[in-house]
């Protein structure tokens, strides 16, 4: 279980003004503001919100990449630092080396995570994600879709209990996006997923949380959230998103 309690992340940012000067006036900016959340084991939790809402910041804090200004995250009642090996993180199609082959990438990360029988694990993931024919190619020759799949394979290499997926289908054509979603759906893991695609969140998530300006403004099942719009027919999550995040 993932527990998030009173989580706040504040940045000190310089105010923009004309020209260049040292010691510009500064202000505080809350990227996350008092987030409280519990995600159950095996649950797929979708995080939705406009650009700059704090979705990636929250993912980075849960993964241990960023420290919160206040509050805490615990996984199975332990601080994140103690359970880093249980977490798989995918930030779009980054975090993979383009200058080596797909296989070398997966082998490297498998060894970092002490994966036993890594060869069979790589084979298994390559088959699962349709990467078999590409593993011996340099990643720089991959299409965006293939890079995303490799990034997903990298996140899955150590068979983590918890998967943090930040925009896993960003920039993918519909065929590959559908394929990646299908793969995510097949995994029986605790997943936190951020996306801008409402149908993706709708299809994949057991519950959805709406983040806006660093605040978690609504949490519920896709069905519950659609109720917000009333009893009108053909309500989509996009309608709910626009209503909740209207400035």
């Amino acid at each position: 279980m993932i527990q998030i309690k009173n989580l706040t992340k504040t940045y000190l940012i310089k105010k923009r003004d004309r020209g260049f000067s040292f010691g510009r006036p500064k202000r505080f900016f809350n990227a996350l503001d008092d987030i409280n959340l519990e995600i159950k084991e095996g649950e797929v939790f979708g995080l939705l919100g406009p650009n700059g809402a704090g979705k990636t910041t929250l993912i980075k804090i849960i993964s241990g990449l960023l420290q919160p200004t206040s509050g805490w995250v615990k996984i199975d009642n332990k601080p994140v630092e103690e359970v880093r090996g249980k977490i798989g993180l995918m930030l779009g199609y980054t975090m993979i080396y383009y200058r080596i082959t797909g296989y070398d990438n997966l082998e490297y990360f498998a060894r970092l995570y002490n994966v036993k029988n890594f060869k069979s694990r790589i084979k298994e993931l390559a088959e699962f994600l349709g990467l078999e024919n590409w593993l011996d190619e340099y990643v720089e020759h991959y299409s965006t879709g293939m890079k995303s799949k490799l990034a997903l394979a990298r996140a899955l290499i150590h068979n983590p209990d918890i998967l943090l997926l930040d925009e896993p289908t960003l920039g993918l054509d519909p065929h590959i996006a559908i394929d990646v979603r299908k793969k995510i759906k097949q995994m029986k893991k605790t997943i936190i997923l951020t996306t801008h695609y409402m149908e993706e969140a709708d299809q994949l998530s057991d519950r959805i949380g709406f983040l806006n300006q660093g605040k978690l403004i609504k949490v519920g099942t896709p069905q519950d959230l659609k109720q917000i719009m009333g009893r009108e027919k053909e309500i989509s999550l996009e309608d709910v998103f626009i209503k909740l995040t209207k400035v």
């Binding site: 993964s63 241990g64 990449l65 960023l66 420290q67 880093r84 090996g85 977490i87 993180l89 930030l91 980054t94 975090m95 993979i96 080396y97 383009y98 200058r99 080596i100 070398d104 082998e107 490297y108 990360f109 060894r111 970092l112 995570y113 002490n114 340099y138 990298r154």
Partner: protein
């Protein structure tokens, strides 16, 4: 210690470096030659003008003196700058995050990266020690001791480099300062000239510099120049042990406190 992770880091780094191998090897082989050629011209000028000896350097040993200095300089230079270059690359490739989230002790990174430099540093080591051996042969045990001392100094330098690497991730504004620290440190290491050629007020700074003790010890072993072995070891061994440990501690502190900025 689980060495699998260390070898995984080294193997991945070597593969990344071999993607553009001419650049990888070319720089390493040509860089040390610059200083040997430059200072050979200077010392030749001294001896041709009638000088017999400069701080223990004579007409017969100055080539070995410079080659040994250049060898230590190469290890020092690559060690000092490696994490700065590496982390800047990894920051913009957005791959550094994948390492930071992995459950790997940072000390393994230091050793793994050190190992990954061996293909090119090994070539320099063999060529330079080979030339020095042909000019001034020494006992095999001494040769092994020289190699050990070079690697100890390299390990210590990698620890310092990790701190600089943390700054390259956290705040690139500080990096220019490290270029000057590198320059000053090299200057105070007496790699190409004897201590006596520096002004007296700098001698204390030189004498607390572990790289100076490394090269002095090597020259003692190789050229029979006078010195105190125990004093040299008192600087080299703690440097090799403490610098990586302090480097790892500060790296974790800096990354935790500031995080990664600028991409």
């Amino acid at each position: 210690m689980n060495v699998t992770q260390i070898f995984a880091i080294a193997k991945k780094e070597i593969k990344l470096n071999f993607r553009f191998k001419w650049n990888y090897f070319g720089d390493a082989i040509l860089q040390p030659l610059r200083f040997v050629i430059l200072f050979s011209v200077v010392y030749s000028g001294f001896f041709l003008s009638g000088a017999k000896e400069i701080g223990g350097i004579t007409q017969t040993n100055f080539i070995s003196f410079l080659i040994l200095g250049s060898l230590v300089h190469t290890f020092f230079s690559f060690g000092f700058n490696i994490f700065k270059t590496k982390f800047i690359n990894e920051k913009y490739w957005q791959t550094i995050l994948s390492f930071l989230v992995a459950p790997v002790h940072r000390l393994k990174l230091v050793i793994g990266i050190g190992l990954s430099e061996l293909p090119r540093l090994g070539i320099i080591l063999v060529i330079f020690l080979g030339i020095a051996y042909l000019i001034t042969p020494i006992a095999f045990a001494k040769l092994l001791l020289v190699i050990l001392i070079i690697f100890l100094a390299f390990l210590g330098t990698l620890g310092v480099s990790l701190i600089i690497g943390a700054f390259s991730l956290a705040n690139e504004d500080t990096l220019f300062a490290f270029s000057y620290i590198y320059w000053g440190w090299t200057f105070l290491s007496c790699l190409y000239y004897p201590l006596s050629s520096l002004p007296r007020f700098l001698h204390l700074a030189v004498r607390i510099n572990p790289i100076y003790h490394c090269i002095e010890f090597i020259r003692e072993l190789w050229l029979g120049l006078s010195g105190t072995t125990a004093v040299h070891l008192c600087f080299i061994i703690p440097f090799a042990i403490l610098a990586p440990v302090i480097g790892v501690y500060l790296f974790n502190k800096i990354i935790k406190k500031i995080g990664i900025t600028g991409y």
